[in-house]
Symmetry: C2
Subunit: 166 residues, 2 copies
DNA sequence: CTTGCTTTTGCAACAATATAACATAATACT
DNA sequence: AGTATTATGTTATATTGTTGCAAAAGCAAG
């Protein structure tokens, strides 16, 4: 059971140019939506692009600002609806502990969403770790609990920031 | 490495009378605060009592309502400050995925907070599962990531509700 | 291509959650 | 008692997210 290569590598250097991550993510999203008969409209595409361009968790109102810079007046509901769609299609995750959104690193693949989030530089790595998934499943099983969704968000210091502070 | 007995058992029957959970939790809290030289004031104690009396996740504004029923006008900041204190003392956890609070089942013990939450009846079980903790640590280590806090919240159906729907 | 249907977006108001700033009160310490 | 510290009251505000309805855009059959 191979894991698909993620769209973006984990904990890349902060100043790395990630234009290609953005365009790869957009291409992948196009393909996924086409295959599913879903409409990746201009707005939804734009929101996804902004999410990826930031390359770290962004709040809905942050996205709203960015949209306004380009498209004039935009209402919250507009952003939230686009984000809802992108989440339904598994292209974006919501991070409950940050009230923020991030592009999915494994779009199209069945996975549960596990995140390492640096509290210093906001860099984030999405994992799809079998050990973690299994441990959760085993624990739920032991309690007779049926999982429908999991939130796994780990805060701490990424390798770069750890060095900078140690 | 034995786990301490939790204050409340997991997935008890919904209609079970949990007065003794409440008083046990309060007693434990008193002891912990006394030992640490922290002040479990009337307000803080009251909030903790309300959290436990509900025995399922409660929102801050829900607590606010309950406080008002007893003490007249109360402002949000009052509740949030009490909750902050209780969280600092490890007597209460905040559930990021629900914007809600729950009494800690392992007060005084070092643990990370892992939750199974029934989306049907809101019953909740707090775990301190070594497998899960270890899997998270191992995965973080592999990425050179230093953990400071983890959010593990699993949504799904508890044993009772699963039966009721199967 | 136009009519009717469905989906998406615009727009306005509002709801829910959380925090900030500063004054007053209670408690602890000397 | 007098002073410092901590906790609470009070008011206002910030942040995040939703609802409802109307206009617009996309789609499909005739
Ligand atoms: Zn993902
Ligand atoms: Zn970092
Ligand atoms: Zn706990
Ligand atoms: Zn249940």
């Amino acid at each position: 059971m191979e894991q698909p290569a993620p769209v973006s590598p984990a904990f890349i250097a902060t100043d790395h140019n990630h234009d290609h991550c953005v365009s790869l993510a957009l291409q992948t999203a196009e393909a996924i939506c086409r295959e599913r008969g879903q409409r990746l409209t201009t707005l939804r595409r734009k929101v996804l692009e902004l999410v990826w361009a930031n390359h770290r968790p962004v709040g809905a109102y942050g996205l709203l600002e960015m949209l306004r810079d380009e498209s004039g007046q935009v209402a919250p509901a507009t952003v939230y609806r686009a984000l809802d769609f992108l989440q339904e299609q598994g292209l974006v995750h919501r991070l409950a502990s940050l009230n923020a959104f991030i592009g999915c690193a494994f779009p199209g693949a069945a996975h549960t969403g596990q995140f390492l989030i640096c509290t210093s530089c906001q860099e984030l790595a999405e994992l799809d770790d079998r050990q973690i998934t299994e441990a959760l499943r085993a624990s739920a099983d032991a309690s007779g609990f049926t999982i429908s969704h999991t939130t796994v968000e780990v805060l701490g210091l990424c390798p770069h920031c750890r060095k900078g502070r140690a």
